[in-house]
């Protein structure tokens, strides 16, 4: 089974990367970009067939390693 995990910065946490990208986009002449926030994806290949069990396991992975819950949120999507 393939799953995709999204890890994004919490609201209120400053995102220097996102800000720098905003600046660059505007200096490249892209207009109308109000905000950019950068996050991470993890594409995970799991040896598991049950969706719920997989989600549970992935959530634990996020809590324990993949996200720093002081500053980040995560969400999980089962791809197939």
């Amino acid at each position: 089974m393939h799953a995709r995990i999204f890890v994004t910065l919490k609201n209120g946490v400053l995102d220097p990367q996102g800000q720098a990208i905003e600046g660059s986009l505007s200096s490249l002449g892209f207009e109308g970009v109000d905000a950019v926030r950068q996050g991470k994806i993890f594409d995970v290949k799991l040896d598991e067939t049950d969706h719920e069990a997989a989600k549970e396991k992935l959530a634990q992975m996020c809590e324990k390693l993949l996200a720093n819950t002081v500053i980040e949120n995560y969400s999980i999507e089962i791809v197939d």
């Binding site: 946490v13 400053l14 220097p16 990367q17 720098a20 324990k64 390693l65 720093n68 002081v70």
Partner: protein, 229 residues
């Protein structure tokens, strides 16, 4: 003072830290390999700088989940002195021993230079020797030193006197221009509430002898030696 240095694959200022400890204390620190299950009984545990596990995922994240860090946590929870420098600071925040998080530098670039530091608190076991030498030049070398904490957390740090070092200018003024990496309130190093754990981004281990251009990094180790005496 008996000390131990934790060694993870990818750390690279471990040798600098070992040399500094040896020079100041006259004793070789114990080396604790990340895979070992025991941490010997020592006065001070140091998590040195570098790029543990390449800093892949997040700086310090993977090292923080290793069994050895559990031992470090137990040591710190018992009140044992614990110092994390640079990657070590990142690792200690990732374990939760210290609050907040270290994010990418404001300018997104790795930055190696000599900045100025101000010891904000000269009463912790790490900083007593800074009394009278509050502002001093010190090297930094990091990519992720931009300290972040939410407003409540910041207030707690201030209220409890947990801010150990801030970035300042040559004259000891804490200014926006003197902030090399965007850290909130120019924070360069903090202690835990109990004061037995210090994390800092700058490198005191590279400021020990004449060849380093200054010896103010020694004061941390001098303070510790005095604290355990």
């Amino acid at each position: 003072m008996k000390s131990a240095v934790i060694v993870f694959p990818g750390l690279n200022r471990d040798r600098d830290m070992i040399a500094a400890l040896e020079k100041v204390t006259g004793e070789k620190p114990h080396l604790a390999w990340h895979g070992d299950s025991d941490l010997p009984d020592v006065d001070l545990v140091v998590v040195p700088g570098g790029f543990s596990y390449g800093d892949y995922l997040r700086a310090g994240a993977i090292a923080a989940r290793s069994p050895m860090l559990q031992r470090v946590k137990e040591h710190a929870d018992r009140g044992g002195l614990t110092l994390g420098v640079c990657n070590g600071f990142q690792i200690l925040t990732e374990t939760g021993l210290l609050p907040g998080a270290l994010m990418r530098n404001r300018d997104l670039k790795f930055l190696c230079k000599v900045i100025h530091l101000k010891a904000e608190n000269t009463t912790s076991p790490f900083t007593t020797a800074y009394k009278g030498h509050e502002a001093f030049p010190c090297p930094i070398a990091h990519h992720d030193g931009n300290y972040f904490i939410d407003q409540d957390g910041l207030k707690a740090l201030e209220d409890n006197g947990q801010i150990a070092f801030r970035y300042c200018d040559e004259n000891g003024n804490v200014t926006l221009e003197a902030n090399p990496n965007g850290s909130i309130e120019n924070i360069a190093g903090i202690t835990n509430k109990q004061g037995n754990v210090l994390g800092m981004m700058p490198h005191p281990e590279n400021l020990i002898e004449a060849a380093h251009g200054g010896i103010e990094g020694r004061y941390i180790f001098d303070s510790l030696v005095a604290a355990v005496a």
